[in-house]
Symmetry: C2
Subunit: 362 residues, 2 copies
């Protein structure tokens, strides 16, 4: 905890940032290991070179106090947060801050509270401070992420063992969720997209019934110790639809091209270019409608983003997904996703489960 | 849906607002019955007098299109949202908007996207537009809220039927959650605070074991058809702790005073004053650390807020909680909460369950 605050202050010095203000959420949880209850009441954690403290709704104070010794500036529902925030700024020596970093994920009215008090300050979000620090994972984080990936492998296999024609997507999702729970893991998300539904990358799992020959997209994740897993595999009951094998091979080729391109020192867009190139060359470019990947840590989506335009330079210890897909409207979708940690010689895949189509017997 | 958009445009005209921009969330769901997937990709719904359309991440478009016919201005991960947003503003005739309303709940970087394009515009949040329109509920909303309250009554009674010494708070919460699920209701939150834990209003339900004589705060809610329930009752296994009955009577007196004060035309703070007055007069003022209530609709917390300083005038059809509490650190907490809808002659309580302490036999 203290190490991260120290590292943040070093980046603040380098970048001439006077104040960092974070809302409840992932940045705050990562920085000081506190996850206070977040609602419409302004709750901020503010860091200057000389001070770090919370703007804290009074009714949350006792509960939050069990998780941190950092100072609170409390405000009650009847008086509102203004005076307490002024007090915090004065204590932090930040009443005249000229450059501030705001948590881009926090509510717009929390950000407005800070900006309206510091009208003269130049605003930026956390990309080069907290966000940048979060990208490289340490050994403890790696061990959690690796173990989480293994629990996802188990949950995926549990679903494959039970899936049958006539089951709904929701029922498959329930098998996955229960398999996570049996391992002490909190289910985070479960996209089960059968047949044409798989052509929507963020399909909302529903009451569609699984049929023989449906290509089924299975994108699952579960959380433990503050980190999630995230993997996508493909399954079919019986014989896959026409053209399936060809398209699967293209997506697998895109994954392998991205894996080969990902090295420390390479810009993120080079990895996207590699995956996209394979798919475009095969004639499916217009059906790959999203970026190749996203970072993963205390949030399921976080920097670095692996997009066609990202100039972020990849570094050892960064963790991100490689998940190209081809989505054929009205027919099927194929996405293959693995989480990798970047080592000095390239990516290490966290899952131990092959990306082959899983053909289930009827 | 169309009615709500029309009503919004009427308030915009009255208040000289040129553009309303909402993110994914409750305001948007209420206004146009769409709940698009929200992540870090800017997704906005913008309304001017002549136009209403979405800034839409390309990969969400097909999925969102299943739920709305309103126009999309799509952007892809590689190009970013800038051009599509400019296009939306131009189509809406809002490139020179002078007064804009922003969704206070949306991410700070979504708000910044709008503000950075409309630097000259005066910003306000939704309190007097979308927020104000949402406060008064129609008959359909009442019927959903009433039925939801009844499912919460059932879930509370299911817990009472099974609670026993040696059970953990989490186990009690699981009973409540399962009782909601059996009724087709999605569990939304379950605060179970045994003994000293009850003195934290937002206690995080955990592994504390229920003991004989613990006063147990039970604050539960479950959702169906886009609305939640929210109620708090008190239970004890065996004999309540010393002073319990006296304090319970004070909190019950505060509830009744608030119910008596709540009439159309009265300011919200008058209701808070009534409840707080009873508790203060009994000598427990410093232990009532939060507002008396909050509105409830498509969100569990929404306007009107029943605080000591709120000047909001209560109107027929408004739905809000009355939930005074007394929190004695290290000993116990007592909160009694009912949701009411304001009728012309006063509040109608949605729950049918008495607020008496539920004494469970050992």
């Amino acid at each position: 905890m203290t190490d991260r605050l120290t590292a943040l202050r070093q980046t603040m010095t380098k970048q001439n940032v006077d104040l960092v203000a974070l809302g409840p959420g992932a940045h705050l949880g990562w920085l000081v290991s506190v996850q206070p209850h977040g609602d419409e009441r302004p709750l901020l954690f503010c860091v200057s070179q000389t001070y770090a403290g919370f703007l804290m709704p009074a009714l949350e104070a006792d509960s939050a106090r069990q998780h941190t010794d950092l100072p609170f500036h409390c405000w009650s529902d009847d008086e509102g947060p203004g005076r307490a925030f002024d007090d915090l700024l004065a204590t932090a020596g930040a009443e005249n801050a000229r450059a501030i970093v705001l948590d881009e994920t926090m509510r717009a009215d929390f950000a407005a509270l800070v900006q309206d008090r510091l009208m003269q300050a130049k605003r930026q979000f956390t990309a080069t401070t907290v966000g940048a620090l979060r990208m490289r994972k340490d050994d403890r984080e790696y061990r959690i992420l690796k173990r989480n990936a293994q629990t996802a492998d188990q949950a995926m296999q549990a679903a494959w063992a039970e899936m049958a024609p006539g089951m709904t997507e929701t029922q498959v999702a329930d098998i996955v969720r229960n398999a996570f729970k049996r391992q002490g893991v909190k289910p985070m998300f479960t996209i089960i997209g059968a047949g044409g539904n798989g052509a929507y990358p963020h399909h909302q799992t529903g009451e569609t019934v699984l049929k023989r020959g449906d290509a089924i997209v299975m994108d699952i994740g579960g959380g433990m110790d503050g980190y999630s897993s995230d993997m996508t595999r493909m399954a079919v009951i019986g014989t896959p639809p026409e053209d399936y094998d060809v398209v699967h091979q293209v997506v697998e080729g895109a994954v392998q091209a991205a894996l080969a391109a990902a090295k420390p020192g390479v810009k993120a867009h080079v990895v996207d270019d590699a995956a996209r190139g394979v798919i475009t060359d095969a004639g499916y470019g217009e059906y790959f409608v999203h970026r190749t990947g996203h970072g993963m840590g205390v949030e399921v989506h976080e920097p670095p983003y692996i997009t066609a335009t990202s100039e972020t330079v990849l570094e050892e210890g960064m963790v991100f997904s490689i998940e190209p897909g081809i989505y054929l409207p009205g027919r099927f979708g194929i996405r293959l996703e693995d989480i990798v940690i970047l080592r000095d010689d390239g990516p290490e895949i966290l899952s131990d489960l092959p990306r082959d189509l899983r053909v289930l017997l009827d």
